[in-house]
């Protein structure tokens, strides 16, 4: 502390440089020098100045801090300019999919064309049900014949049993058969490849022992969309530096002694990244949904929630006490039907009084379906019926859109049309935590009402640093085009992989630009078979079955990453092709692309 005079010149210089860099981000998003307000310069986020905020004494730290707090008006203006400019530019650029010029109906048709939810052949459907019931019957016989080896509750005789009978039956006799396909321990970075710790079971899945060997696999299972999961490189280095400087945790909440300049900078960078006025960050993505939704809605409000929404959203809605109506997955006609009915008829439990608020709750990319939200149509509906929109971009932020700005960026929508932008840092940013972004009014409200902000632990500094650095790289603030390359690589990998799978004749769900690729295998037992076989061929994938999906729709999920190379994908595709033949997974009856697919 106290060496401020010495390097204030340096700081000045650095600010200048950072300003240049941030201008380049604005340019990237289509802001030209002329239409950017002058005040913007002073309030742009300084990439490295934050570091100085810690090292120098208060005199030096104060301006940064003061600027963030006092110049909110400037920031607001800047963000406004940013947002509108962004949408303008996108409407002119070729990359944008949805433009005002293009009619909504045309867009809708295009989205439908690019999205596929091919229906299962009837005989497979029957077999799947039969297979599942067979498994259940076998389970029951098993339970009758063999004394189950399960742990018993001790010292609680005469108590009401703790678990639901079906639930424990299901986990013991059905899930146990394929238990080895989940919770597999790894012992490496979850990067483009991952090292599995091999384990065996000698008692049909009741317990596992490590063999001491390891299997190196191509990683198609982790949510490492942009490849920021890395133990070396700028993110890891800066995180380490921050850990040494600030420690591993704050052992306090944000509103007590848990707010550092890093947290504030991360929040303003997130807001800028998304093109909105303000943002607030939390230490866990799950908690971001579960602990903020109750502050935003209350009994007397109506929530229209997509049927495939994530558990954290459902929990948040349950805690809020608002009325929830579920609409069919990504089905705009159903959404409009429910929306219209409820605006017209009001709250039937309350004598038809109008709903206090109506909130539409959707995700950007649905993690089990691989589909992309029909954002432009939802925005149109929301405006027509004066509803609010909450968009969970957990899987889309970073991974979608020409600038990695999520579904909003992908469609070239105006971020201000989405009232509440939520997302997590667990996936594309290779870190942990979540954010909510939107108008200053919204974020101020959350700062004073959010459960997580007031009661939960503040984000760990090295975790926050990882996000800050990776976000800067995505935005190009580091002065390189690494971020841009990663985004392009992911988009390319996605298209290639999905088209090759379609050509093979397996059924995949979702939109052709979504990096989450579910491949349908239907039968419960096939999930296990595919996951195990792929492991022997050194490919790690995720299988998903009942209860996470309908009984019918067991699937294998591939998550693509910018870290994958064409060679790696080719290898995976070759193996998938082979085992799909062997296990009979080529259910698709669509015509297949006859020509080779270019990368």
């Amino acid at each position: 502390m106290g060496n401020s005079n010495g390097d204030s010149g340096e700081v000045q210089q650095e600010r200048q440089r950072n300003c240049d860099i941030s201008n380049s981000w604005n340019k990237m998003k289509g802001i030209t020098e002329e239409n950017m307000p002058k005040e913007c310069d002073s309030s742009t986020v300084e990439l490295r100045a934050r570091k100085n905020g810690f090292k120098d004494n208060v005199v030096e730290a104060a301006p940064t801090n003061g600027c963030l707090k006092n110049c909110t008006a400037n920031t607001t203006q800047c963000a406004t300019a940013n947002g509108t400019a962004c949408s303008n530019s996108n409407s002119n650029s070729k990359q944008s999919l949805y433009t005002p010029a293009k009619k909504l109906s045309e867009f809708a048709a295009e989205h439908t064309r690019k999205t596929s939810f091919e229906e299962v052949p009837l005989h497979t459907a029957c077999l799947t049900y039969l297979g599942f019931y067979l498994l259940m019957i076998l389970g029951y016989i098993n339970q009758l014949l063999f004394v189950p080896k399960v742990a018993k509750e001790e010292n609680r005789e005469g108590y009401v049993t703790l678990y639901d009978a079906f639930e424990s039956f299901y986990s013991r006799y059905v899930y146990r058969r394929v238990r080895d396909c989940w919770n597999r321990p790894i012992c490496s970075v979850p990067g483009d490849e991952v090292t599995l710790k091999d384990r065996v079971t000698n008692d049909y899945g009741w317990s596992f022992q490590f063999t001491g060997t390891e299997t190196r696999c191509l990683n198609l299972g982790s949510y490492n969309y942009l490849g920021f999961a890395d133990a070396t490189g700028p993110c890891a280095e800066q995180s380490e530096e921050t850990a040494r400087e600030m420690g591993l945790a704050m052992t306090s909440t944000r509103v007590e002694l848990g707010t550092t300049q890093l947290h504030l900078d991360l929040e303003s960078l997130t807001a800028r990244y998304l093109g909105v006025e303000d943002a607030i960050v939390f230490g866990m993505g799950f908690a971001t949904n579960a602990l903020n939704l109750p502050s935003l809605i209350s009994p007397g409000c109506l929530v229209l929630s997509d049927e495939k929404n994530h558990a954290s959203i459902i929990l948040g809605l349950r805690l809020s006490g608002a009325t929830t109506k579920v609409f069919k997955h990504n089905n705009m006609r159903d959404l409009e039907r429910v929306l219209r009915y409820n605006v017209v008829h009001g709250n039937s439990k309350n004598g038809g009084k109008p709903w206090k608020k109506i909130l539409i709750l959707v995700e950007g990319v649905f993690s089990m379906e691989g589909s992309i939200v029909r954002l432009p149509e939802i925005i149109a509906l929301k405006k027509k019926y004066k509803a609010y929109l909450y968009l969970d971009e957990a899987h889309s932020i970073g991974a979608m859109g020409p600038h990695g700005g999520g579904a909003v960026d992908y469609f070239g929508a105006d971020p201000k049309d989405i009232d509440i932008l939520m997302g997590t840092f667990t996936k594309s940013f290779g870190s942990a935590g979540g954010y909510i972004a939107g108008s200053k009014r919204l974020i101020d409200f959350l700062r004073t009402n959010s459960h997580a902000h007031c009661y939960a632990s503040s984000m760990s500094p090295p975790i926050a640093q990882q996000i800050y650095t990776s976000m800067s790289i995505i935005m190009g603030l580091d002065g390189t085009d690494t971020g841009r390359q990663k985004i392009n690589q992911l988009a390319r990998n996605t298209r290639y992989f999905r088209r090759r799978l379609a050509q093979m004749g397996v059924i995949t769900y979702g939109h052709e630009d979504s990096p989450v690729v579910p491949m349908l295998v239907y039968l419960f037992s096939k999930i296990g078979a595919v996951v195990r076989t792929l492991t022997t061929r050194h490919i790690a994938v995720v299988g998903v079955g009942f209860p996470a999906t309908p009984i019918m729709e067991g699937r294998i999920r591939y998550c693509l990453s910018a870290a994958h190379t064409k060679e790696q994908l080719d290898y995976a595709l070759e193996v998938i092709d082979e085992i799909s033949d062997r296990l009979g997974l080529k259910y698709s009856r669509k015509p297949r692309e006859p020509n080779t697919i270019e990368y």
Binding site: F54, V58, A61, A151, E153, R156, Y163, W182, N183, P185, I186, V189, P190, G221, S222, A231, A236, S239, E240, A243, M246, G247, L248, A249, T251, S252, E256, L257, Q261, L264, G285, A287, A290, L291, A311, L315, R318, L319, V344, H345, P354, K357, Y385, K386, A387, T426, G430, A432, L442, D444, F445, T448, H451, C454, A456, S457, S460, P462, I463, V542
Partner: protein
């Protein structure tokens, strides 16, 4: 019996004699009556024409998404921390003695733990990029679970990625709709949210008041006697905190255990503060009271206090804990704890085991602080003497909470300016189930010396005299 064939004959005759169209018509009539009775009633109440609908839509004025926030709201004015939050901390430019963050054992400043965590970072990167089920389980997670279970001498433990969600997920994994939960009225906010999520019936008993708890239990017995069928399916739970963050008091575990056994309840204990602070070797409340572990069904704790990292865990028998791996929402549906923070917890446990005298030291300091801080002229102290969390209330109670809050904020700010970091405890008062009196929450750090405590006392005493 003889009449039945006759009846059939008769019906047949009627049908033969009536023309077909009458039967069809009557059929229609019957159907429309059914439709009127059932479908119409369940269906939409009113019917609007297209124009009416459009008019209603045009006139619909929803409430604003959020209310306006007062720019002077106390929660908008947070302090800026500019250093590691160790025994000393730089707050808003003031180098302070830290009496505000929950780093009781001082492990946040431990070099060895930091080094281990950085090495893990260099091996695994920062994030885990997946939930536990989907390649988010790293060997460090299994290690930590193993170590925690062994440390506590229980069969199994499960690690979550956030302290708040640990507690808020563990409770509703067991307590469901129709169940009954008895909880202390002063339980922390994460327990309250866990109880909300369970949708069970909740009865709050007066803070640490066993007579009141027993009264509620007897009432429950009476309800059960009325409806034994339902009672046979109703699970009963008892939820308490080891040390209450809202009061600094310790829960009377032996009495709770006795009631638990008498009324056949299952006991869930939140040891977020007591883990690593109470007991000779830091095992928490059970060790402190010398209660058999089997008497407690589930111990839950955040790792954000004495372990000085992020996350939380539950520990108990295999039968109980394993269930959370499929039913703990925050466990299944969230990315696992970043490996470097997991390693920090393992290394902190190493220290627990290698330096068990830490806990006695901390308890000694807590006693000392209790003794010294009990003497403020304008503030009253509340806490158990062993608790590292203590509350200071304004001695002369003011008319309303806002006024007290303002005064406390003023004191805290002045203390910070004078080099002692204390902070008024922050709550969302309108959301707490029971009103909590505004206080300054003081935390005890093992590394404090007698001189530090004396200095802190002097500063707080001077400032509080100035302000009050």
């Amino acid at each position: 019996m003889v009449a039945i064939p006759y009846l059939f004959n008769e019906i047949e005759r009627i049908f033969q004699n009536t023309p077909l169209y009458v039967i069809v018509l009557e059929g229609f009539l019957l159907l429309s009556v059914i439709w009127l009775l059932f479908v119409k009633r369940n269906g939409r109440g009113k019917r609007f024409s297209r124009e009416e609908e459009e008019a209603i839509i045009a006139n619909y004025e929803p409430e604003p998404l959020v209310a306006n926030t007062n720019p002077n709201h106390p929660l908008l004015k947070t302090h800026l921390v500019q250093s590691k939050v160790g025994k000393r901390v730089v707050v808003d430019g003031n180098d302070c003695l830290n009496l505000a963050t929950h780093n009781y054992l001082g492990l946040l400043e431990d070099k060895k733990i930091l080094e281990d965590a950085c090495n893990t970072l260099k091996k695994y990167g920062v994030g885990s990029c997946g939930p536990r089920g989907f390649y988010g389980t790293m060997d460090v997670h299994l290690d930590l679970e193993d170590r925690l279970a062994k440390f506590m001498g229980m069969e199994e433990s499960v690690v979550y990625s956030y302290g708040f969600s640990t507690i808020a997920s563990a409770i509703p994994a067991y307590a469901k709709r129709g169940d009954v939960v008895f909880a202390d009225e002063m339980v922390n906010f994460s327990i309250q949210k866990g109880l909300d999520a369970s949708r069970s019936t909740i009865y709050y008993y007066k803070h640490n008041d066993m007579a009141d708890l027993e009264r509620l239990l007897i009432e429950q017995q009476a309800r059960d006697a009325k409806n034994p069928k339902k009672a046979a399916k109703t699970r009963r739970f008892l939820v308490a905190e080891g040390i209450y963050i809202n009061t600094g008091e310790i829960c009377p575990l032996p009495a709770l255990v006795a009631l638990r056994a008498k009324y056949k309840l299952r006991l869930f204990l939140d040891e977020s503060i007591s883990f690593g602070t109470l007991g000779k070797t830091g095992h928490g409340l059970t060790e402190h009271f010398n209660v058999e572990l089997i008497e407690v069904d589930l111990i839950m704790a955040g790792m954000e206090n004495s372990l000085a990292t992020i996350g939380g865990f539950c520990v108990g028998s295999h039968f109980i804990v394993e269930h959370q791996r499929l039913s703990g929402l925050g466990y299944c549906f969230s990315a696992s704890l970043p490996p470097l923070l997991t390693q920090a917890a393992i290394s902190a446990l190493d220290r627990f085991e290698s330096e068990p005298q830490m806990f006695a030291e901390l308890q000694q300091i807590a006693r000392k602080v209790q003794e010294v801080f009990g003497k403020f002229s304008k503030l009253t102290l509340r806490a158990n003497e062993l608790s590292p969390v203590k509350h200071l209330y304004i001695a002369e109670q003011r008319a309303n909470a806002e006024e007290e809050c303002e005064l406390l904020t003023k004191i805290a700010n002045k203390c910070i300016a004078a080099g002692v970091a204390v902070i008024e405890a922050r709550y969302l008062n309108n959301l707490e189930k029971h009103p909590i009196r505004q206080s300054m929450r003081v935390t005890v750090n093992r590394l404090l010396t007698d001189a530090d405590i004396k200095h802190a006392y002097d500063v707080i005493e001077r400032v509080s005299k100035e302000v009050l």
